[in-house]
């Protein structure tokens, strides 16, 4: 029963961890016991999604998201709620396997990368067209990438992927070459993202207003039928779509006729609406409400967001965070298992590296992240930090008191605060608005920053930590930066794996990264919904979804 409540399709392909499997079998036992105790109920009535069920085309799926940022242009949007709609409207040059991270064909049937990862040549598939019937050719690819660079910060994700972009060359109608001024191994994965998804050349000429309002012509399995601000986006399937990616489970048109994405700001209203059948699914159920959707006519599917996990990022231009002993002690003083066990859903996992386990080239360095309060105290004792009367350590008259700035939910950090108090570190929590947080990142006026970053390529580690890139730690270049920068130029997967693993381990050991836990996205859906799942970047994928018709 329990395994059959996991959805078929892409969601079911996510590799559940041991924890999750344990949770699933526990749930199964509980359900079986429950079924025995109550003498039946709705368990084996055939409505729960089974892996053997045949997809039925047609119908509508209503999906709730939280806020409308008044733009669904795939090349401009950066927030998950807008991405839920935008991802469906474009196809990308490549696709990424959610399990292995392997890059697979989509609009491009093959590609070549030169030795130093500065030049990428794609051979386009014969046949794909934009939703209005114009063929997807090399010139269209060039128009798109040029436009994204022109949009600049308005296309923040896309332009970050195209840093160092020198230009796109149309070799012939089906061959296109993208050149960079510096090694950019991450670009191959970036070509699989919705941010570099293709819109028709005519759409590039549209005003920002029209693009945001969904008047663009895309290349994906769905097209925007209507978009009413703060209310809903209606997507309809594109007739004749026949260029499924290598990561998809089926070919041809999408199963659903329409997808209605509703903007529902209130968490309790999303819960009530799903329970009462007014929506079919959502990825925004609050943690406390999730258990009621585990069975009882509903199913849950989750996936850890790839990329950098929730981390404390020390600002090493500040005296306290500049002390390696302090950083390392803080990392040792955090009991990640306790945070995951007491505060988070069974779906959230403690960090095992600076990268989450769903990121390609992730490697487990959790032996360097073990809870070790004695080791932490020893480090601080040796560094001359002596416990004062109030339990907080002092050295040369300075208290070991520092501040973390964040806008996310406070509970995990409140627990971190309590854990660190035990080793004599006073961590003050400063919760700010998103806007203030953006401003603080820019000004660098913080002791510790705290966030996560979703990206299905390990290059995100370099982008954030390298002293030659964002340099979140505000520190001088050192050994780890050589590894990080070399990883950007490496096209050999084995070599890149080695560089990324070494870099991740060094970042954790030096306390440049203090990982806490992995963010995950959880879909809650009615049993009538099948095949709804995640693509490699943990974005929702409606292509394989279908609903049971009555």
């Amino acid at each position: 029963m329990s395994l059959s409540t996991w959805p078929s399709g892409p969601g079911g392909r996510t590799a559940p961890s041991r924890r999750a499997l344990a949770a699933a079998s526990l749930a199964a036992t509980a359900l079986l016991l429950g079924a025995c105790g109550t003498g039946g109920g709705s368990t084996a009535d055939g409505t729960s999604p089974g892996p053997t069920a045949e997809p039925v085309p047609g119908g509508n799926l209503t999906f709730a998201v939280t806020v409308d940022s008044h733009c669904i242009d795939p090349q401009q949007v950066g927030n998950n709620d807008a991405i839920a709609s935008a991802r469906q409207t474009v196809a990308s040059l490549t696709a990424q396997d959610p399990d292995t991270g392997e890059i697979l064909p989509w609009l491009a049937e093959s590609w070549e990368v030169d030795a130093d990862a500065t030049s990428f040549t794609f051979t386009l598939r014969e046949g794909p067209t934009f939703a209005d019937g114009t063929p997807i050719d090399a010139a269209a690819v060039k128009t798109n990438f040029d436009k994204i660079v022109e949009l600049g910060a308005a296309a923040s994700l896309g332009s970050a992927y195209l840093v160092g972009y020198e230009g796109t060359t149309v070799v012939d109608p089906r061959t296109v070459r993208v050149d960079f001024s510096a090694p950019s191994a991450q670009f191959l994965q970036a070509s699989s993202t919705f941010s570099l998804g293709l819109l028709s050349p005519a759409s590039a000429a549209l005003s920002v207003e029209d693009r945001c309002a969904g008047k663009f012509v895309g290349s994906g399995p769905f097209a925007v039928k209507s978009y009413t601000f703060d209310q809903e986006v209606v997507l309809e399937k594109v007739a004749g779509y026949d260029w499924a990616s290598g990561a998809d489970d089926h070919t041809g048109e999408a199963y659903l006729d329409t997808v209605t994405v509703k903007f529902v700001p209130e968490a309790s209203v999303r819960t009530g609406s799903l329970l009462s059948g007014q929506i079919d699914a959502t990825a925004a159920i609050s943690t406390v409400d999730l258990p009621q959707f585990d069975g009882n006519g509903f199913w849950l599917a989750y996936r850890a967001n790839p990329g950098v996990v929730f981390n404390l990022f020390p600002n090493e231009s500040r005296p306290l965070a500049a002390d390696p002993a302090v950083r390392q002690a803080i990392s040792k003083g955090i009991d990640r298992e306790e945070i995951a066990a007491t505060l988070l859903t069974p779906q959230d996992e403690p960090a095992t590296s600076a990268l989450s386990h769903s990121t390609p080239l992730w490697a487990d360095v959790s032996d360097d992240l073990a809870y070790d309060p004695d080791g932490a105290e020893e480090l601080l004792d040796d560094a001359g930090w002596v416990k004062g009367a109030d339990g907080v350590r002092v050295k040369d008259g300075q208290r070991l008191s520092t501040t973390v700035t964040f806008w996310q939910v406070a509970e995990p950090l409140e627990l971190v605060q309590q854990q660190l108090a035990k080793i004599g570190v006073d961590l003050q929590l400063k919760q700010v608005t998103v806007a203030e947080s953006t401003e603080l990142k820019k000004s660098g006026d913080f002791d510790f920053d705290y966030y996560n970053l979703t990206r299905s390529d390990p290059d995100v580690l370099r982008t954030i930590f390298s002293a030659n890139a964002r340099n979140i730690n505000k520190r001088a270049p050192e050994e780890v930066d050589v590894l990080l920068d070399r990883s950007a130029a490496s096209t050999d997967p084995a070599e890149r794996q080695e560089l990324v693993t070494q870099a991740a381990r060094l970042l954790v050991q030096e306390g440049h990264a203090i990982p806490v836990y992995e963010l995950s996205t959880t879909i809650a859906a009615a049993d009538t919904v099948h095949g709804l799942g995640f693509e490699a970047s943990t974005r929702l994928d409606f292509y394989g979804a279908w609903v049971q018709q009555d």
């Binding site: 008044h70 703060d230 309790s268 009530g272 954030i464």
Partner: protein
């Protein structure tokens, strides 16, 4: 009368200018700005400072604050508040599109508030049974103290999630209007009922009511024919404030009921520091307030000829 209206319009103009100016500088002193917010992604922000600076320049956010202010004010005088930073659409167009659903909502809520408030006020003064009057008199205080947010969720829980009589979200059809309108009407009707019932009680104690009774007027005739009209002056004053309160209440109500409208537009615009949109909404709300207050003032003499709109100096 003409001079009076001219003077009131002058005051109204000042209110609009003040609303525009205060909201502009409040948004300006907030940390960050629309360009940074647009460039920041969902979680951690990877935006390139140089590109953000370019976006800021494109949107005119790099100009000195007084130049931005003067430019904004000049535009506002021509009813052009500029384009939304987040969607690129003209702010006035966004407001115009969000207005009809909010007008429907507030109009229905106002109707319910007036009917419900008046009924409650009459019911709490009319019956002979003292305990009944006392019970009904205490209801408005309860209605005012209930948080709109909580009332909305409670109504949703009963009538949408359990009984499934009304949709929990959206703007489609009259049925989607019912629960939000009731939610919005409860505090408004309570305020209206409280003022009207107190005023009714005072009026009923006046000597002319005694005279009417002595002349043999029935209970109903005294209540409805003699007292209600005189008692409605303070309630009319409250009504002016109520309309403003309904607009403010739309922010919460539209959020709870996932309705598109001016309230939701306000929330989004403030979060994104979308100055043009916020300013269009602020000025619009100020216009509504000014107009309603003026109408209320003009209605006083109609209800009670002893009240005059002429200034004392003009009367002398």
């Amino acid at each position: 009368m003409g001079r009076y209206i001219a003077r009131r319009l002058g005051q109204g103009g000042f209110v609009l200018w003040a609303a525009f100016t205060i909201s502009f500088f409040l948004l300006y002193v907030l940390p960050s700005d629309a360009a940074s917010i647009k460039a920041a992604g969902a979680d951690g922000d990877l935006s390139d400072p140089e590109l953000v600076a370019r976006l800021r320049a494109e949107q005119g956010l790099d100009r000195p604050v007084l130049v931005q202010y003067a430019h904004g004010l000049w535009g506002a005088l021509h009813l052009d508040f500029g384009r939304s930073f987040s969607s690129g659409a003209p702010a006035t167009k966004l407001l115009a599109e969000a207005l009809p659903p909010t007008l429907q909502l507030t109009a229905l809520a106002l109707g319910l508030a007036l009917a419900g408030g008046a009924a409650l006020a009459l019911a709490s003064t009319y019956p002979r049974a003292r305990w009944l009057r006392h019970t009904l008199t205490s209801l408005p205080a309860l209605g005012i103290s209930l948080p709109t947010f909580w009332v909305g969720l409670l109504l949703l829980q009963w009538f949408s999630f359990e009984l499934r009589l009304f949709p929990a979200m959206g703007n489609e059809g009259f049925e989607s209007l019912v629960l939000p309108a009731f939610t919005l009407a409860i505090p408004a009707s309570a305020a209206f009922a409280q003022v009207l019932s107190r005023s009714l009680r005072q009026t009923l104690a006046e000597p002319y009511v005694e005279t009417a009774r002595a002349k043999g007027a029935g209970r109903a005739r005294v209540h409805f024919g003699h007292a209600l009209r005189n008692a409605s002056i303070p309630a009319l004053t409250v009504l002016g404030v109520t309309v403003g309160g309904l607009l403010a209440g739309a922010v919460v109500t539209e959020t709870v009921f996932s309705r598109a409208g001016v309230g939701r537009l306000t929330v989004t615009a403030v979060n994104q520091q979308d100055v043009p949109v916020v300013q269009a909404i602020v000025v619009f709300s100020a216009v509504v307030f000014v107009v309603v207050t003026l109408l209320v003032d003009l209605l006083y003499p109609v209800l009670d000829p002893r009240i005059t709109t002429r200034q004392p100096s003009a009367a002398a």
